[in-house]
Amino acid sequence: MISNRIYKLNIHRQCYLVTRHTSTTKDTKSIQPPNPKRISSDMVGPPDPVSNLRTVIFKEPPNESQLEKRYRQMRSEVQEWNHKFWAQHNSRFYQEREEYVKTHTPADKQNLSADEMSVFYKAFLDKNWKLHINYNMEWYKKNFALLSLAIRVKVRKLLRLKK
């Protein structure tokens, strides 16, 4: 697998191949999450492999109002909270599924049938019922709080534009 990056440098219409190991160029900077102070709008990234949620980098404008700052910080907190919950939850799911398959697959078979797996799925769902209920209530509360802040920010922006 090619783990280095290959760059094309055009010098007088001649091409050179340059391989780099370090990450100091402008291109490598785009691999890192964008700088909140430099971006012109919020940026959304790829889904996280464990939590399946996409991270959003929120833009920090220099002339941010208190309300906007609160909104941005809340979005950041909720994002972090969500990511933590799902990362933990999903890893637990995969781990428990692995264990279940290991203990329940008879020696002669490769994997379990869907019906055999569904015993695990039911057990997992039942075990995590309370956890899910609590998460749901929290999520709904946070989502509504974010919504109300978002509406206020947008209304204020609209009024500011009109002025």
Partner: protein, 398 residues
């Protein structure tokens, strides 16, 4: 991964021979290998050659970090609205509402019909949009739903809610002022049931499926009420059919999504009680058979409908039986796919075999209607003749 590299290589070889120096081709190819490599390892594309643009108008945006909300919102507004409203689902809902309207024993008024259809569609769009607003982290977990607009960050949650508010108020207004208050009330009830009861309940108890079926059964009632202004016993027929249809439809769909549902925390029969899931699906196909026969007895449709619907419903029941016996992904997929054909076909059959088509003239001449009803299996009711509707149009509207 290696296969992808080889494929890229061969593609590059085909593309690369266009007026570039030999050295350049190799670099292009290497660049492409590295980019495909990079893409697979979640690194951004550092070298993107113009020859890779597949679509003529829009360059592929393969960046890792994209603007949220999407910068070309204005161009894709229609597409985003369709995605927020779950367009195909909403279309089915509108179809069932239109069927309810057309089946009702009252004159067919084109304006009211159109307003009822549009109003129902807008209410459905609003409900689906709110549903997506509530379920962003859950949708992200499941492969079926992970490409939704809010999950991908193409729109912000506040946009979805704004869209829902606009669609909901417009739809409700259209129904209240353009059709009648009963239809509007039914629409509002349905919206609240779907967004505030069904959506949270999906994660609490399997009873959500029964509730969701009620949500599906209300649009035909809306159509019926839109036509006659009241809910007669005949309205129950189409509602019961739609209620029962939800079970084979949804149980079959959820059967193959058990791993995803379990991890995302959705409580569905398919996971908690698979035997119940299959039993219920089969049971309700039986109910559909019975209801179709009863609809002829209740004179919503004529006797021919009982005969014509039987093969369709028996085949549906057969597929449900297979699903019950085999309980595998193949039988569930067959059942689900057929359910998508079964419902429109059944509604069409009901319309074609409607017992009586009423015009405004008939309303005044009730004696004629009573005579028609006396004949047991009258062949008077047939396809709506053009003159019936044309007569409507020539009448002066109050």
């Amino acid at each position: 991964m290696f296969y992808k590299k080889v494929m890229h290589c061969t593609i590059c070889l085909k593309h690369g021979t266009v007026g570039i120096s030999g050295h350049g081709i190799i670099i292009q190819q290497l660049a492409r290998i590295s980019t495909s490599q990079c893409w697979n390892s979640k690194l951004p594309l550092t070298t993107q050659t113009t020859a890779t643009v597949k679509s003529k108008n829009v360059p592929q945006d393969n960046r890792m970090w994209k603007e949220t909300p999407s910068h070309d919102r204005k161009n894709n507004l229609g597409q985003y609205c369709m995605m927020l409203s779950k367009f195909r689902l909403s279309s089915l809902v509108v179809m069932s509402s239109m069927a309810g309207y057309a089946l009702a024993p009252a004159p067919f008024d084109l304006t009211t019909f159109a307003l009822c259809a549009v109003g129902t569609g807008l209410m459905s769009a609003a409900a689906n949009s709110i549903n997506q607003f509530h379920e962003v982290p859950f949708d992200a977990q499941m492969s079926r739903t992970k490409n939704r607009v809010l999950v991908k960050g193409l729109l912000e949650p506040v946009h979805a809610v704004g869209f829902a508010a606009a669609a909901g108020t417009t739809g409700l207004g259209l129904l209240y002022f353009g059709v009648n208050p009963l239809t509007a009330a039914l629409g509002a009830t349905n919206l609240i049931l779907y967004t505030s009861v069904y959506t949270p309940m999906k994660r609490m108890s399997i009873m959500n499926t029964w509730l969701g079926s009620i949500v599906g059964a209300i649009p035909p009632l809306m159509g019926w009420a839109g036509c006659t202004g009241a809910l007669d016993p005949g309205a129950i027929v189409l509602s019961v059919i739609l209620y029962s249809w939800q079970f084979p439809h949804f149980n079959a769909l959820s059967w193959n999504l058990r791993p995803d549902y379990s991890r995302a925390g959705y409580r569905m029969m398919a996971i908690t009680d698979p035997a119940l899931c299959r039993r219920v699906a089969l049971r309700h196909t039986g109910v559909i058979v019975g209801t179709c026969l009863a609809s002829s007895y209740l004179e919503v449709t004529n006797m021919w409908f009982a005969l014509e619907s039987l093969p369709l419903n028996i085949y549906f029941m057969y597929l449900a039986w297979q699903f019950y016996q085999k309980s595998d992904s193949n039988s569930s997929r067959k059942l689900f796919r057929f359910s998508l054909i079964h419902l429109p076909a059944l509604m069409l059959l009901m319309l074609v075999n409607k017992k009586n088509w009423y015009t405004k003239k008939d309303q005044q001449d009730t004696q004629k209607v009573q005579d028609i009803n006396k004949l047991p299996d009258s062949r008077i009711s047939v396809l709506p003749r053009r003159p019936v509707v044309a007569a409507q149009e020539t009448d002066t509207e109050p």
